[in-house]
């Protein structure tokens, strides 16, 4: 009966939005979120930003300093991503259903990847800092562990998605396991893997800012120093340079993806 359908729709909608409203109220209550301040501060932030948060002439004199720190951050992110990708490739070969030799090892590899990527980056940074102190190495290792977990999952999905049919065909010809991996799995999944790698570099540069904040290195530390000493013009220059870097890298990645995918 049509009337019933409309009534059911309305009830469903009521239930959905009711639950949403209850969850929102609960969240606001326990987190101490201030809805009024939240709403008004956005407007205030823009007004404040327009008058204080832009690079001025004095800030520009800090440009070489910031550029040097930014370079450190980029290098650290690229290195962490590339090294993680190499290990992720090995872990993915063991963990993928298409290429694994043994189901038990496969499950172990996937479990390791799952634990690595689900421990938040902050936790990695805090734990590593206890022994490695505040240094670039700590940041590198924190990014490395997080990327290793993420890339392993991405690589496993890629391998299973892209190469399962070709692997079947090569198994049927009697090809060896190594041949199958090097001749079928890698050629078919390499471009997709590179695409994930580029995505990870982009993500890691943004995350490196956070890690830098905690570990006192790179461009994140620069921002922190200027921010805490109320040098907002300099801080805004840091933000601007990060934005330019990220957008350049994204454009480059998109160009590369267009060619290889």
């Amino acid at each position: 009966m049509p009337a019933d359908i409309f009534a059911k729709r309305r009830n469903d909608r009521l239930l959905f939005f009711g639950a949403l409203a209850a969850l929102t109220a609960g969240s606001i209550f326990i987190t101490n979120y201030d809805p009024v301040a939240g709403f008004t501060s956005i407007g205030k932030a823009f007004v404040w930003g327009a008058s204080n948060f832009y690079p001025n002439a004095r800030a520009l004199t800090k440009l070489p300093d910031i550029a040097l720190k930014l370079r450190d951050t980029i290098l650290m992110s690229v290195a962490a991503t590339t090294v993680a990708a190499i290990f992720a490739l090995m872990l993915a070969m063991v963990g993928s259903r298409t290429t694994r030799i043994n189901a038990v090892f496969g499950a172990i590899a996937r479990a390791i990847a799952s634990v690595l990527r689900n421990i938040p980056l902050v936790a990695w940074a805090m734990i590593l800092m206890l022994a490695f102190s505040q240094s670039q190495l700590t940041g590198f290792l924190a990014l490395f562990f997080g990327s290793l977990g993420f890339l392993t999952r991405a690589f496993i999905e890629t391998i299973d998605e892209v190469s399962i049919h070709a692997v079947e065909a090569l198994q049927a010809t009697g090809a060896s396991h190594t041949s199958i991996i090097l001749q079928a799995v890698l050629p078919s999944s390499l471009p997709q893997m590179i695409s994930w790698l580029l995505f990870m570099i982009d993500t890691n540069i943004r995350d490196a800012t956070l890690v830098g904040l905690l570990t006192g290195t790179g461009v994140g530390f620069s921002f922190d120093v200027y921010y805490k000493s109320f040098h907002f013009h300099e801080a805004s220059l840091v933000v601007l340079m990060i934005v330019i870097t990220i957008i350049c890298i994204e454009m480059m990645s998109n160009y590369i993806r267009r060619i290889i995918l």
Partner: protein, 290 residues
């Protein structure tokens, strides 16, 4: 196809007699794709080697630090617990973190719904979609923590600034996801409604949103999963409450590894639950599009 039939009739010979006809293999072309891949991989390799060689290790003894970290991890994972934090209290802190993530996702989804409509090429004129795309790219390029710290100047450090900062990134992520979902919508549906005289808002609320609601919910949940991890960060680095703050205190001030262990386990448990649901949602999106 005709080509193939012709060739077939012309080559009615067994393999052996063909040897003479193919004397030399034609030269093999090097494709642009291969050049780009090789170039990229070499650039990455060189950059990595250079970066590793110049990495500042803070003067710590690497072997010592590595074995210390292993020992720390052992305590963290094998003897979780702690004097400052009961299990229930820690659980409550995780719920606060979930609350931060929920608020940011909800606000983000609400704003992204409108921006997503304006960003969909089948629903909005090209100049508008371009503006939306540029906005999304810019918001995304600023790290979440920096958004939070910028808002903290006017809102003060804490939950409010954290939620607004996270909302910004959620908006940029969801706007892109939503407008792509809208673009997948069958063109003919919109055409049919237009033909019947429906206006833009009617089309949006009667056809576009109902038929893509499954995707919208899935994408929103995926973002919620990411925001959970972000909300942990907010506690540790932006003074918001929640389990991230406890983590920061335990590892940065009390140096209590057992407490770090308890917190890590709880975060891990919730993250894995959220991830499991998120993977199902993602497969749903994939299956429907296949």
């Amino acid at each position: 196809m005709t080509n193939a039939l012709d060739t077939m009739s012309g080559t009615d010979r067994p393999v052996g007699s063909m040897v003479a006809s193919v004397s030399r293999l034609p030269a093999r072309p090097l494709t642009k794709e291969k050049v780009v891949i090789r170039l990229l991989l070499s650039v990455l390799a060189v950059t990595t080697v250079y970066a590793l060689a110049h990495l500042d290790d803070g003067g710590v003894n690497l072997l010592q630090a590595a074995s210390d970290t292993l020992a720390n991890l052992k305590i963290i994972f094998l003897h979780p617990g702690g004097p400052h934090l009961s299990f229930l209290k820690a659980l409550y802190e995780v719920v606060i973190t979930l609350g931060l993530a929920f608020l940011a996702t909800l606000f983000g989804a609400f704003i992204a719904l409108f921006l997503g409509l304006l960003g969909a090429q089948n629903l909005a004129p090209k100049p508008v979609t371009n503006v939306i795309k540029a906005f999304v790219a810019f918001v995304r390029a600023v790290p979440t923590i920096l958004w939070v710290l910028i808002f903290a100047v006017t809102a003060g450090l804490g939950a409010t600034a954290a939620v607004i900062g996270m909302t910004f990134h959620s908006v940029s992520y969801l706007t892109k996801a939503y407008s792509e979902s809208f673009e997948d919508l069958d063109r003919s549906v919109i055409e049919a409604l237009k033909a019947s005289g429906a206006n833009w808002w009617q089309i949006v609320f009667q056809a576009v949103i109902p038929s893509s609601s499954t995707y919208l919910l899935s994408w929103t949940f995926l973002r919620f999963e990411m925001n959970f991890a972000n909300a942990v960060v907010m506690g540790a680095a932006a003074g918001a409450s929640g389990v991230g703050f406890d983590l920061y205190m335990a590892s940065g001030y009390y140096f209590d590894l057992r407490e770090v262990g308890l917190i890590t386990y709880l975060i891990l448990a919730f993250a894995i639950i959220l991830e499991t649901i998120a993977i199902r949602m993602k497969n749903r999106i994939k299956d429907d599009q296949a």
